[in-house]
Symmetry: C4
Amino acid sequence: MSSLISGSEIAQHDNRDSCWIIVHSKVYDVTEFLDEHPGGSKIILKYAGKDATEAYEPIHPPDAITTNLPIEKHIGAVDPNTVAKVVKEVTEEDKRREALMAARPPLDEILNLHDFEAIAKQLLTPKAWAYYSSASDDEITIRENRAAFQRVWFRPRVLRDVTNVDWSTTILGQKSSLPVYISATALGKLGHPDGEINLTRAAGKHGVIQMIPTLASCSFDEIVDAAIPGQPLFLQLYVNRDREITKRYVQHAEKRGVKGLFITVDAPQLGRREKDMRMKFVDDGAGAKVQEGQKDVQKDQGVARAISSFIDPSLSWKDIAWFKSITTMPIILKGVATPEDALLAYDSGVQGIVLSNHGGRQLDTSRSGLENLIDIVAALKSRGPWPNPNFSIFVDGGVRRASDALKALALGASAVGIGRGFLYSFSSYGQEGVERAIQILRDEFEMNMRLLGARNLSELVPEMVDASALRAHVGVTPPDNLYEQTYQSLKTADFKNKL
Amino acid sequence: MSSLISGSEIAQHDNRDSCWIIVHSKVYDVTEFLDEHPGGSKIILKYAGKDATEAYEPIHPPDAITTNLPIEKHIGAVDPNTVAKVVKEVTEEDKRREALMAARPPLDEILNLHDFEAIAKQLLTPKAWAYYSSASDDEITIRENRAAFQRVWFRPRVLRDVTNVDWSTTILGQKSSLPVYISATALGKLGHPDGEINLTRAAGKHGVIQMIPTLASCSFDEIVDAAIPGQPLFLQLYVNRDREITKRYVQHAEKRGVKGLFITVDAPQLGRREKDMRMKFVDDGAGAKVQEGQKDVQKDQGVARAISSFIDPSLSWKDIAWFKSITTMPIILKGVATPEDALLAYDSGVQGIVLSNHGGRQLDTSRSGLENLIDIVAALKSRGPWPNPNFSIFVDGGVRRASDALKALALGASAVGIGRGFLYSFSSYGQEGVERAIQILRDEFEMNMRLLGARNLSELVPEMVDASALRAHVGVTPPDNLYEQTYQSLKTADFKNKL
Amino acid sequence: MSSLISGSEIAQHDNRDSCWIIVHSKVYDVTEFLDEHPGGSKIILKYAGKDATEAYEPIHPPDAITTNLPIEKHIGAVDPNTVAKVVKEVTEEDKRREALMAARPPLDEILNLHDFEAIAKQLLTPKAWAYYSSASDDEITIRENRAAFQRVWFRPRVLRDVTNVDWSTTILGQKSSLPVYISATALGKLGHPDGEINLTRAAGKHGVIQMIPTLASCSFDEIVDAAIPGQPLFLQLYVNRDREITKRYVQHAEKRGVKGLFITVDAPQLGRREKDMRMKFVDDGAGAKVQEGQKDVQKDQGVARAISSFIDPSLSWKDIAWFKSITTMPIILKGVATPEDALLAYDSGVQGIVLSNHGGRQLDTSRSGLENLIDIVAALKSRGPWPNPNFSIFVDGGVRRASDALKALALGASAVGIGRGFLYSFSSYGQEGVERAIQILRDEFEMNMRLLGARNLSELVPEMVDASALRAHVGVTPPDNLYEQTYQSLKTADFKNKL
Amino acid sequence: MSSLISGSEIAQHDNRDSCWIIVHSKVYDVTEFLDEHPGGSKIILKYAGKDATEAYEPIHPPDAITTNLPIEKHIGAVDPNTVAKVVKEVTEEDKRREALMAARPPLDEILNLHDFEAIAKQLLTPKAWAYYSSASDDEITIRENRAAFQRVWFRPRVLRDVTNVDWSTTILGQKSSLPVYISATALGKLGHPDGEINLTRAAGKHGVIQMIPTLASCSFDEIVDAAIPGQPLFLQLYVNRDREITKRYVQHAEKRGVKGLFITVDAPQLGRREKDMRMKFVDDGAGAKVQEGQKDVQKDQGVARAISSFIDPSLSWKDIAWFKSITTMPIILKGVATPEDALLAYDSGVQGIVLSNHGGRQLDTSRSGLENLIDIVAALKSRGPWPNPNFSIFVDGGVRRASDALKALALGASAVGIGRGFLYSFSSYGQEGVERAIQILRDEFEMNMRLLGARNLSELVPEMVDASALRAHVGVTPPDNLYEQTYQSLKTADFKNKL
């Protein structure tokens, strides 16, 4: 099998009965895999007997096919001279995006994290935008996450010498130049060809900690390899139905130097994200398989569910002991939402929790992490002195400004996670975008801490915020439309002859 | 009178002094009925001496004319060879709708119950849409019904083994595959030629319970006949001024196997629904007579009031004993809104109550059933252990998602009713639409229960929701329009040369 | 001076030094009055030597000129043959309005009081609309008046025999077919040539009580003359700086049978109504003088202030005894807003108070009468048993529906006043409009009382409403515009090829 | 060096190695200053060898260049005959603004302070508008400042003799015709060629007190010289890193008769104002240097940060004693936001505090001064009888109406500051605009005090306002977009054939 295989031979296996495809110049027999492909067989058959690399690339880690396909189905290397070069058709949409790339504002005109999102929203393919931006059901929680920060107001102190302010910290024993870590988000190559590695490189350069996602587009090792020596990394874990796979994955991560294991506990099943699901109907080829043990899923569920069927819904508190037995990394439970579970987590001996609702992508109308923080800090005080150096609380969801982070920290969080904010920064500008995002946050931390009168993070105290309105997510009386139609608004004075 | 009647003979009775019409190939003398017709005489006279079937069909049950007209006015069968085929004029509106029918998205692109409503809104005749969608006065309650669910937030539990989740239940002793029943809505044929039977068939297939409306377009027996053996059905009852009619109707229902009697108590008079009333002015022919005992009504009151004048405004607590004497079906009072009345209901010996405001169609600015639920559960606890297996509370109004149902159930409801959601599903896609709606709810129940950490309905506890904002239906300060005109919103960065 | 005066003689007095004008075929020498005219001299000089009737008519009562001008300035009658008929120029605006008049929807298509406002808004001259619709400053209170009703929710009772419902009542000892009176609004002829008499006639026909405004366009006697025998009328009073004028006015009213004196106490100075003031700049001829004792005012203050300078800002609690000495009519203080003043009113021996903020036309960001009602009823209970047959509380401001009235009544009001609602009904349809408005309210009372389970007004109890949100006029967090720009709303499913 | 320098000689110094510029007919060698210029070297080099007066003028006080440049760099006077007259290019934008100037509504059509803002918004250069109107981050606090006033409602008293009402007061011992002072705002010449002097003249004429800004476009002495004898002035102070500069400045002010020293304590660093920053990218020439001791700053930070790098972030409570040692003027701390700091201020022996968030330009999501007022007045009562004649509280931010001021005064403030309101009044109409603004406020004070029943400021008591909703800056539930798309609003009746 070490001899090169000719294009004409491959081309004969162009049907359901015998289906070969080329990926990265290697030929694979996927005939028996067709019905197992989470993205459906249709999209594979489109490339039967042909080179599928271009379609494969953005939504699979490089090793997805080799890991999932038995070795005997790895047919061999392609004879490059015999395969017609795939001429990528340049669509109107491609041209539109290329023109937009050229017209991006220079990075120094990007003033805040919203700006990256505004650029990415237009630059991304509709499918990528739908996958990244979507949340579950009516997308109420995703918006509430943002709104919650604005129900907490500052009570700044004045006349403190704020010449020097320091916002660096330690997260799970690792130094961080910001009280912010890069939270895990999936499928980075949908946004940029270098995928998650954009984050790794920027994080290494600026002393920020990245959490590697289980569902990364880049392989775990590619990401770790992109880190500089000593650069701390965390790992986000979806637990596989097959615990052996999980064990291998976790222990490999520890061996490669990962410093914290964030087990996702709010996703026994991935949420129904309707923007993402609607996208399926305009592009039937979506889907990826990144883990073994995945079961077949409905074909109309969007990217999110296509890639997640391996996740084990039976994960429970009983499993914590097992995790502690397979790793010495600090274990953090990501997705805790109640004081009840926070106490269970504490009592189970893990090192912390992330108050998260998965960026609004799981249970809609879940409360924000920020709101839960208040109840949970109060509950944990029942377990002894607080803050507790052995138990950390993190918050993610809706963070866009340093001021958001400062509010969470004042209320008891150790650090906050930012997911989409960084995702959009590399989707629009690659690694440089991520670096600019970090710089913006740094500027904001400097300014806001000075204006708050807090010279370092330990001076951020609950008294610096007024969170009394945080729980007031009230509903508005439905408007009286008839009255509003007949009421004529006031107008200001205006120029006589408008130009 | 058994010989066939010729079209030319019929055609002579084409005026107010002698008015015959053809319905379903039978001839009727409606001369004396003209002034009693709730929809007015004008619409009948339009068909004097002609075939009125097409106009009659969508808003009358088939037996309306035979039940209401004395037997001696049933002239006989038409000689089909002598009657000119009524050539239905195809209007621009008909063409528009036909084109829309063809352009409906495939059912698997319908992702939630709102989608059915969006399709039906465009597909229905303006009159049908007005009748179905309208609510009373300023339509504040109809919107509040929906808004109330979003003031209740989830407190999900994690790390429970949710491999298997079960949302089936028992409603009034009948098995139901969902904690949801199909609530009664009137005049189904305005939405689809098969009317309420669409619901019956889908309900039978998927183990869901349908509540048959008094004001159905299909006759009661047609609906029951469409059920499969053993399929449980409930009956919604408007009580007639003539109690004998009501008695016959209830006892007939019980004989046909109906398993629960839902007596509407919030409609001594049908509400003023202005969207519906405005429609009268563009189509003066509306009106239907579905029950005897109906009095004449103002002709400009829309469909709702035209069909409801038989309802008895004198219905009172004293009547409950009588109902108990005429039926052994469980009796449920539909439309209770206060703890005071909930206690009266309990003490009267009925089997339950529906917390409903009639879909916002009766008393506007009534509170939502969900809000009333909290007070009422608290009050009922004064009568003994709760939950009480002999007394059920149901909630309807504004339910669009499984998550809505789960909130009501967590707060003490046994099940929720969905009316418009199913109505729009068959209005847009017939029986298949209803089946798709049930499937969507099922998917949502599975996902949300897993994400909540509740494996069956008994694990849905009040602690899983935060209802603290439910009563906060506050009003917003009227905006300062002058300030808002002068305030210039922030803008994000943008591309240099927008394409 | 009894001989007829020729047009040519009049025409010579066409300047500031000698200025005669014709009004209703009589000639007046207004030379010395020019600078006293509240609307400014300019508008009079426009008609110097000519017939001013057409401009005079809509904003002055017929007797304004005769009352204000010394008898020696009444020159005499015009010789009709010598005066050129004033040919009214028909403007584009006139034509627009005439076409609109013809295109008005028939009255039975008017379904609620908002409809009249919608029609009047387009039909009225811009100046009349500005005067009627305007309120003070940022017009926050006018909108809050409406919003307040929607923060009170119903708690309806069911299963009461509501065959017969009765919403008639007694107001200050006078029978009223509705718990609603027609509140005083000024300058009715701006809206309709018959002015306030439209109200009088409709009120007489339907058993409703009208409150005659001091600033009516029709004279007091014209209005009283239009009443049927025994028709009860109230009088609204602006107190003149010259108390003798007020005394004559009040005693004349009592002699003519007026049954209640409503003294306005919230208007020591009329509010700045900016819509009205802006109108001054497009029409410099506004102004009217309806009372003696008026001082000169700034010319740019709109109609409201032009006609009100006679009002006495020194009016105080000390004056109440005097009023009691000059009349035996019940005295009601209109415009009370605090429990403190309600107690002072009670202790002063008057018969009642109107909780009013003058339709939002006086102090902006004053609270609504409905909100004040709760505090004031609570305070009055300290003075003895409540309700007190000798002391009535009325509420006005923002009432558009019977349901609004029912909320106020449930909370302790004896009746509510409707001003603009009736004003717009005759502005758009004359007397018939007012009758239709009364009929609509009657229908709404019937329906809502049935649905509430209240058979008469004494059954309207506080427990029937939930006013817990009434005080919650909260402010909304200013929106995060950047986030909202980048958040992309969900969309429903849609037809494939939209027509 | 006293001989005149020819244009041709100057023109040779047109580059980075030797750069001379002309300002106000004097030549300066700015070669060594190029890299120190806060606005960057680029903008200076544009005028190398040429006359820079026109660009210099609007954003520098006249003495900025002479103060900042060592005397040996003052080359001498220009020979006017040898310099080509700079012909100012008239741009389209200039023409647009000129036409707008001519089309401004006459001043008597300006009815409120919003009107000035509406006119200025269109009249100002985009850069000036961005600098004036911008606030920090998401601009939430700037809007909250305004919104807070509308959460306080009036409880007006009636039947008090309000013939005479008096709103004059004493501020820090100085008479003021209004309980309002003109708060400091920077760079007045961006808005009008006469800059801050417009304020000084109008203030002198109408008995109002102006607070002179450190960052004025006019020099301190120009402003003081424009005052009439005895006209009280206050001084706003940014404290320089070089305390000697500050000492000279303060003592000079005291010598010139300034009556109060307002030390800004909420600006150790100027906020990130993104509207202002975005403007930098369209005009790279911004920047000004008004104080010595300024360090270099990032060049992309907008006008605000360019002009403020001299401000000392080390300023602290320890410095208060020093200020008391260098001046006998009353010292007021501007920018206090918490009871904790209010008590520190009181205990430090200063004469008062301004509850301010710097017009929303510093720490975003800081609470409004009005909200802080309530907590702070409560706290100060712990220090002895209140009000305290030796300690004043002022409030600024969002004041647009006399009613706003009255609310703050009722709650305990001595006076309020208005910044932007006056800034926009002279930006649109020069000195006359300021006078009109004062007149409008006077009219509003008269009306509102009458309507409140307060004859003088001591009668303004807390009971006259309902501030219960002030702390309720709640967040709204994110809307259910799908529901709102499908819900069809009610419509009013309408004309049959709309014209």
